[in-house]
Amino acid sequence: MSDIPLRDVRLETDPHVGFETSYLGEGFSLWSWLTTTDHKRIAILYLISTTIFFFLGGAAAVLIRLELFTPQGDLLTAEAYNRTFTLHGVIMVWFFLVPVIPTVLGNFLLPLMIGAKDVAFPRLNLFSWYLNIIGGGLAVAAMLAGGVDTGWTFYTPYSTIYSNGHVSLTAIGVFVAGFSTIATGINMIVTVHTLRTNGMRWFRLPLFVWAIYATSLIMLLSTPVLAMVLVLIIAERLFGLGVFNPDLGGDPILFQHLFWFYSHPAVYIMILPGMGVVTEVITCFARRRVFGYQFMVYALLGIAVIGFFVWGHHMFTSGQSMYASLAFSMLSFLVAVPSAIKVFNWTATLYRGQITWEASMIYALGFVGLFTMGGLTGLFLASVPVDIHVHDTYFVVAHFHYIMVGGMVSAFFAGLHFWWPKITGRLYPEFVAQIAAGMMFAGFNLTFFPQFILGNLGMPRRYYAYPPEFQVWHVLSSAGAVILAFAYLLPMAYLLWSLIWGKRAGDNPWDASGLEWQTRSPPPKHNFVEAPFVSEDVYDYHPENAPRGSGADDRRYDDRDIAGEKADAAESGRRHRAAETPPATAQARRASKTREPSDGEGR
């Protein structure tokens, strides 16, 4: 990295100069944004596009909840309702949940966190944004041209023979977006393998990086199956192929196998990045090293692997052999074990911490609670007899919204708030943000908890009119949705406000560890003025009043003490530290402690 100019001396005296020399100042024209290969600017492009998709999908959700306020189908026609929930599902899954954390936060932070200048393939990175936009454009065009009424699951033979919506166009859109996902996956994997800075060993990687890495592996391995199944659907619609058509000797169930072989791993594409985010946030605001770092890594990888072998739990009622069902059931119980471990470890991380309740922390702890409920209801669904009852009812709807909206969207907001000062250099009004986070938690539960009860009472999903006995629960749910909608609009407002009127954040407003906090906010084009050197373990937080020289946990490694060697490394690390001086308190804290080997050491 010798080609990077030495640090700009002006910055050291005047912290307010910096915007022009940050990545944001690289160019102001639209063209400069649309042709940028800077991972941070691409992340901003993704932030804008995923936000637009989120509000589009959200608008559909509002329509759905309004329709379900009364048992009669009064607001929408049956056809319109079916098109609305399909739009909601397609947009939310493929154009919001799957890309959002890897491409926005992952793009922005992964190179920073491993001390790299950019991702491995910057131009591929930009290309994948264009693919995502083209795919999204095609899908939205299909919706505008009259819509699709298959649901996001495209079950055959409805989608191939009977549906009169724009199925092929939507499928092409999702197909194209799939390649964007694959490209991002490859980029992240290669980046982590090849661009880690000096001293950034595998077991020193922040768990966010591990999470993006595991996610990218799943993206790479599962998305081609989705591409394949979409091509088959298109071929069957356009050329009358008979792969799924029973009249031509095909089998509709084959579609379900292929689809869920992608889509179950895809649900982990949607949640693992969120797990990474909350680990960063919780450790920072509890000021603790994460409990059981290695177990957290193995849990991520375990979920990624076992997640490939549970798809049949979506097909317990499809007529699949009982033995197959039982095997998938057992594997589904197994995949829940690593998820449980993560929950326990996050909780244990709080123990003996110095906990504060910044908005991102509220979101992150909200994630832990809601993910726990989503995961546990997954166990209900993994038990064959119970699933036979609640499959395709609102119970399933509640289950996956608890994980994907309660979990993933909360995690995204946690991350967006946590890194907002880094991304924009500005602070948002903390108190308003805390209110919004609390409202989101409350509104979410009011919206989706009644759906568990509805499902257990037998209310099927995808009904636009329903027997009046169910109404009371639907009304509660719709009421919650109003609160939830407001809670999503609020951050939009104050985050935009903060861009202009927000206080300058400084480089490390949360006093967080991690390389991304050691460069300027917003970071310069190539992230670090000098390549950082990593000499300490990740999450090197200690209780502020911890006695000098005491480790936080994991003292069993004491017998392998290599303190002298470490002290030297730390010294040279400090000399090579990146860009700007950390705030005084952090510096004092760092200087005053002896580094303690931990979990990940020396692997």
């Binding site: 079916n82 033979p157 726990t372 064959v384 009472l457």
Partner: protein, 316 residues
């Protein structure tokens, strides 16, 4: 009907077994949620920033042992729940030889039931309490799913497959029947009811049911009563197509499409006549939606089906 309140009635023997597992899961899950939420709350208060609580290094048990401990505890717990839930499936998979077989045909958007004696029902299923029933189900078009919440049973009906669903109804009463697999426009209208009767009532009900011939006879009466005959027969003042020989034949429509006159087409013609206008006729036929019931449509359809050859006209 009106089942939902806070918990469904257990109207089949499967219901009780399923509920037991469900409630056990509920207890275990609530305990875990309370534990996690409780710990988070306690920690958040006790270890809030600057509180006097001790931040000594973690006690030595708080090491890898704890981690292994809860990993294996969770694993054991989950495997136990799995094994318990699985045992119910294994029992159910081996049914006794004696069972009452009923055929069900699913199509957009109705359930057609045919009892062993030929009695037919639409969007309704009568079954006797206390007897093992086996539904043999097929679909004519897309995937549907036969779901009776009060029985806790559900089975997808996949075109090209023959699916079987077994249950033993226990509690007499009337329960919801839903289509649980999304099947297009009127998916949410593909609902009906299941009537569980005592064996005696059920036997009496069976003998009261018209067979297919009777269905057509009653259809003839309806055809006159609803005024269909006024347009579709004899010297009507309105010009309307003759219906003899219609069933199963191709129909040329005004918009150029050709469709086959099957059950769904006749049903559409009655409920949404404006949708498929026969070529050469004016769209004057009124819609009978909300006027004729599904059962009556079945009767009318049976009558029209019986009018196969032109010579047959007016047999009934």
């Amino acid at each position: 009907m009106n089942e939902p309140g806070i918990w469904l009635p257990q109207a089949s023997s499967e219901a009780a077994a399923t509920d037991t597992i469900l409630i056990a899961l509920l207890v275990v899950s609530s305990a875990i949620v309370l534990l996690v939420a409780g710990l988070i709350t306690v920690f958040a208060i006790r270890y809030r920033k600057g509180s006097p609580a001790s931040r000594e290094p973690l006690p030595s048990i708080f090491a890898r042992d704890v981690e292994f401990g809860w990993t294996f505890a969770t694993l054991g717990l989950f495997i136990a729940i799995f094994a318990w839930a699985a045992s119910q499936n294994i029992t159910l998979a081996h049914p006794p030889a004696a069972r009452m077989e009923i055929h069900v045909l699913a199509k957009r958007w109705m359930w057609k039931v045919e009892h062993a004696g030929g009695q037919g029902e639409i969007d309704e299923l009568h079954v006797p309490a206390g007897e093992l029933v086996e539904l043999i189900m097929q679909s004519e078009d897309v995937i549907h799913s036969f779901y009776v919440p009060a029985f806790r049973v559900k089975q997808d009906v996949v075109p090209g497959h023959t699916e079987r669903l077994r249950f033993t109804p226990e509690k007499p009463g009337t329960y919801h029947l839903f289509c649980a697999e999304y099947c297009g426009t009127d998916h949410s209208r593909m609902i009906g009811r299941v009537v569980v009767q005592s064996p005696e009532e059920f036997a009496a009900w069976l003998t009261r049911q018209p067979q297919e011939d009777d269905l057509a006879k009653s259809g003839r009466q309806l055809f006159v009563r609803f005024g269909c005959a006024g347009c579709h027969e004899g010297q009507a003042s309105v010009r309307a197509p003759r219906l003899s020989g219609l069933f199963g034949a191709p129909v040329q429509l005004a918009d150029g499409r050709t469709v086959t006159a099957d059950d769904a087409y006749v049903r559409d013609s009655i409920l949404q006549p404006k949708r498929d206008i026969v070529a050469g006729y004016d769209p004057v036929m009124p819609s009978f939606a909300g006027v004729v019931s599904d059962g009556e449509i079945a009767g009318l359809t049976a009558y029209i089906r019986a009018l196969r050859a032109p010579a047959d006209g007016g047999v009934y």
